[in-house]
């Protein structure tokens, strides 16, 4: 097991009568990309604000890099909140350098690194431009640079791709992956974009109403949540097969290509894949059969709905 970067034990936070975070336990390892998921109001922002030192837990223990959390650790993190902005009356580079100085970088060091980042994100000509002149996508890239310039070991990005066109989103994503791979940065990604979670995250944490309802490696989570989902490709009389299937299993979707029929089914718990196939071959010719992993989106909806119910 690699080094733990974050260890939370029973942390809570309330605002007046409203509980934002019920006692929460959480562990994160260095060098991973962790997806922080949850519907609006699940407590993600509250959790991120505690990690970034903006607020303190009411109760519980929060340890970072093996130490009890303190302000000295904040410069080891970079935080890009979902709602983010820039000072309109400043020039682009001056503003990024200001944040770098606040996070303890010396000016020459920050200027040198900033030049590299301007090249990486293809914004070279913008050094001395007014922030007010930036397009939304351009401002997003500048905010990203301001978040990573001081080489944080833990990078917390809340909806990093919102407002970016596909080309710029790919540019930013590549840089995120480079940081993880080459510099060993740990990345926490808070997003509603499940596609990017599937593509990027090693692990996911799903919060709902201030509680952790699901967590683990992304593949395992999708695997364990598949709950009898199978896809079969059959040859034969589809109508008769579906009639025979009746209420034995739930037919989610079917499509036909020539005389090949593809069916997505959810099997009841009592009916495993082998038993189902043994039954199916009596009615149709089974060409292919495989268990299907749920998409992260399906896992999300299904888990939240089941907890809600």
């Amino acid at each position: 097991m690699s080094k733990p970067i974050l260890h939370a034990q029973g942390i809570t936070k309330s605002f007046g009568d409203q509980v934002a975070l019920a006692p929460l336990d959480l562990d994160m390892e260095a060098g991973k990309i962790v997806g922080l998921l949850g519907p609006n109001g699940a407590g993600k922002t509250t959790l991120l604000r505690m990690v970034t030192g903006i607020t303190k837990p009411d109760r519980g223990r929060l340890r970072m890099w093996g130490e009890s959390h303190h302000r000295g650790l904040l410069s080891r993190m970079g935080y890009l909140p979902e709602e983010r902005g820039l000072y309109k009356s400043m020039r682009v580079a001056e503003q990024v350098l200001y944040f770098a100085t606040l996070r303890g970088m010396t000016r020459p060091e920050a200027e040198r690194d900033l030049k590299q980042w301007f090249e990486r994100l293809e914004v070279e000509g913008w050094w001395n431009r007014e922030v007010a002149d930036l397009s939304k996508g351009m401002a997003q890239k500048i905010q990203f640079i301001a978040t990573v310039l001081h080489r944080p070991e833990l990078l917390i990005l809340d909806e990093p791709f919102s407002g970016l066109d596909p080309i710029n989103a790919a540019l930013v994503r590549d840089q995120m992956l480079r940081l993880v791979k080459e510099e060993g940065t740990t990345l926490v990604l808070s997003t509603h974009n499940m596609g990017s979670v599937e593509a990027l995250c090693d692990e996911v944490v799903l919060l709902h109403k201030g509680q952790k309802i699901l967590s683990g490696p992304t593949d395992e989570v999708r695997e364990s949540a598949r709950q009898g989902r199978v896809q079969v490709v059959v040859h034969g009389n589809l109508m008769a097969f579906v009639a025979e299937l009746g209420a034995r299993a739930e037919l989610l979707h079917s499509s036909t290509e020539g005389d090949r029929h593809t069916l997505d089914l959810t099997l009841p718990e009592a009916w495993g894949m082998p038993a189902f196939l043994a039954w199916a071959v009596q009615h149709v010719e089974v060409l292919e059969a495989r268990p299907v992993r749920l998409s992260m989106e399906e896992v999300f909806v299904q888990t939240v709905e089941s907890v809600g119910a």
Partner: protein
Amino acid sequence: MNGWNTVLAIVRREYLTRVRRRAFVVATVLGPILTVGLIAGLVLLTQSTEDPVKAWVVDHDGLITVPTDGGQFVPTCPACYRERPLLTYRFGREEKTKEVLQAEGYTCMLTFDAGLMQSEKMQLLQLSPPPGRAKRAMERDFSEALERLKVRERADLDYDAYLSLKTDVSLVALDIDTGEQKGEERALLGFMFSVFMFTFVLIYGMHVMRGVIEEKSNRIVEVVLSTVRPSQLLAGKIAGIGLVGLTQILGWAVLSWGLFFVFGLALDQSAWMEGWAQTQGLAPEAVDLTTVMASQSELAFLLDINWGVMLTCGALYFVLGYALYSAFFATIGAMVEQESDAQYLLLPVMAPLLFSYMLASMSLDSPESTLAVVSSFVPFSAPISMMVRLPMGVPWWHVALSMALLLATTVALVGLAGRVYRVAILMYGKKPNMKEVVRWMFHPDSGAL
């Protein structure tokens, strides 16, 4: 980065982004020039728009005129009617019609008979209303002429002897301990200082509020707070903007001094100064602006004022008063997302400021009244009220006590305001109510890390 360096970095940003703005440079440079120019312009304008008055004086009963051989009439006291560019007289016994007056270039006709000695009223028939200055000059001229007449008729004195007996008592107020002169002009100077104080506290307090609203509404505050404490951000912002205010005051002081100096030099070279020196019986070389000022009772006090004390106390009161009020302005800024929402919250902050300004203008007449003294100790009004009293001479312990009270209150209130600020600044979509604000003040949440 340690706490002080963080605050300094914030101060630097707040200061530099503001003093680099064109509007700031223009206001700082043009402020004194515009003020002086405006006053000079007004004076020139009123003078140039005053049309000269030519008065036809009809002395029906020959009270103050005598006929000459040529059938003309001349005043018995020619010295009473000095020739001025603005005002000239011609004398006679007969009234002229409007048409004749117009044709001969008169702008008005003054008529009176022997009854003037009792009534002290004369009629002014005007073709066009004369300027106030000309009217006052006419009143002065004829008063003097009548006075001479009365003195000659009723007493065994000549007019010069009468003048030497004429007495006009004025009160010269002195401090019983120091023997220093106190005067209304001094209170007026103090009032001007307090007007500046009021304006600057208000303007720069509003700057703080706008700065906080900008950070909150464009959501940059969350990024900043993930690096610095709310109290550091608040302190840095207040200090940075306060420095901008001090820079502007300094700029204005230096420029005003420069203008005063240039004005003095120009005046030294001018014909006016030579003329003035002659009327005072002084050698023109020995005269400069300071001598002119010293000779005018309305200006002489400016030379006696202890400017060092005045400016130092002014700067200290500005710093403390500004810190006190801007903590409130910052809190209001943190509670709203746009400036228009701040209007109704501003009233409780503006009220003490306006109240002390009104108190200051009331205490102009009696700068040592109980009200004026008490309000110069109350922290909310001290920066404004004490400035009125200062030029009159105030016991040092009054100033020290007033500043100590102000400092203590500022520290306490900045602390309370900081508690509200740090919660409110992260709250979106909902305006906090008074109950919540009070709760944050006295039962603060766990706050930042």
